[in-house]
């Protein structure tokens, strides 16, 4: 029986037609995108917008930079025992003109990555217990 799945943070990502995406918002007045979601006040100093529409962020972007985590981070990170190093990617989204961080998919190495490379968003396990898997977004090279 598959484990119950729980998002690492409620309301940050969703799956539509089998395709996962981050959930952002967009200011109805000036068009600025937000991730994580912003729904009370626009942070563009030239805009006093207070109305936002929920938008799916681009699933694909290009690598701005990358690194890895060779050591186990402190809590509230939940580590495997022993710690399994993972990559961290900073990904530029062209339409939104923003950079979003996230882990690389399991098995991805820094040697596999280059700035400007195409990547896409996938959902994967961040950590799991016997009963439940905690799910997050990760970046995967575009095949």
């Amino acid at each position: 029986m598959p484990k119950a799945q729980k998002p690492v943070i409620e309301g940050w990502f969703a799956v539509e037609d089998g395709q996962p995406h981050l959930i952002g918002t967009r200011c109805k007045a000036c068009g600025t995108y937000y991730f994580p979601r912003q729904s009370l006040y626009c942070k563009n100093p030239a805009c006093d917008g207070e109305e936002f529409e929920e938008v799916p962020l681009s699933r694909r972007g290009t690598v701005w930079s990358f690194t890895n985590a060779m050591y186990q981070p402190p809590e509230p990170f939940v580590a495997e025992d022993p710690h399994v190093p993972y990559t961290i990617l900073a990904v530029e989204l062209e339409k939104e003109k923003m950079i979003v961080l996230g882990q690389g998919i399991r098995g991805l190495q820094c040697e596999d990555l280059r700035a400007g490379m195409g990547v896409e968003l996938v959902l994967d396990t961040l950590f799991e217990t016997e009963e439940q898997a905690t799910i997050t977004w990760k970046w995967a090279p575009v095949a």
């Binding site: 943070i9 563009n44 985590a69 981070p73 900073a90 923003m98 882990q103 700035a115």
Partner: protein
Amino acid sequence: MSADQEIAVLGIGMHPWGKWGRNFVEYGVKASRDALADAGVAWRDIQYVSGAATMRCGYPGYVAGATFAQALGWQGAEVNTSYAACASGSQALAAARAKILAGQCDVALVVGSDTTPKGFLKPAPGERPDDPDWVRFRLGITNPSYFALYARRRMEIYGDTAEDFALVKVKNAEHGFSNPNARYRKKFSAADVAASAMVADPLRLMDICATSDGAAALVVCSLDYARRLGRDDAVRIAAISTVTPTFASAVVEMPDIATDSAAVVEAQRFRAAIPAKAYEEAGIGPEDVSVAEVYDLSTALELDWCEDLQLCARGAAAQLVRAGETRIGGRIPINPSGGLACFGEAVPAQALAQVCELTQQLRGTAGERQVAGAKVGITANQGLFGHGSSVILKR
């Protein structure tokens, strides 16, 4: 800036950096007493105590100004405490400057001190998904992750190498070797850096600064007060920049998980804006700078700072360090104190420690670390949540 907007640095004091594990108040008192002795000013004559807060030492840390005023012996001075992450010391200094320039006090004590826990700095406990600092740790993104993303970006865009980054460590280790207040006093080689453990590719353990205990203090005063003490020649503070970022952020900053969107406005570099404001305020340019103390949280970040301070063209900082131009004796010495590489970060004390070093450099009393003929010095640092500072000193 005109001279009527300047204040004088009468005295400096520091408690050596280390992992002493004692109460931060003890370090702060030592640094304060040294600064008062250096200034030749009695504690009773101090009219304003401005403390940089520490967040990891309980309530006394939140009210650091009062904590030090009490420890030194309540004498009725007015008090202030500033918190601005890595820029806390500069904000405490800026508060003292404002008080002095407003004519509300003549002489002030500014002090920052910290006792740090072991290992990675970590967020406050509890389940707090609305706090970006909680979110990023939950996702496994630590402080070195950000430093490494910036370092790798340099490699990808400018062709910097891990060997270039190691040169920064080797240079700073040489500088700090003779500094009695530095925690690490050893002349490390490039081979030592390369042999240290990989933490966040491309950064190794010796590319990344540690966290330390330490304290730094300044006695600052109006130019009139300095004159009355016969200290017309005192080093002066010509600018203190504590600007916030301008929307939209071009670079993903701690503790954020994403940058602002630059879909409808142009992206802005925060790090470059910090010293730019200081230059403007002091009425000088990067060509006037003789020495700089910058926040080398990582070796690669020192190279970013060289460019943000406009000491070289964007992308050219690795050439500077390769040519030895940032060494003492080079064209533009960076971090003659040894920098964070030799100190490790003691957050509320660090920005003040930078000012202490530049004061010594401009007085010509830095001993083996002396930058010959130093006339103008600039500090730069950046911390969490849009905090950063840059102070210009001149003689």
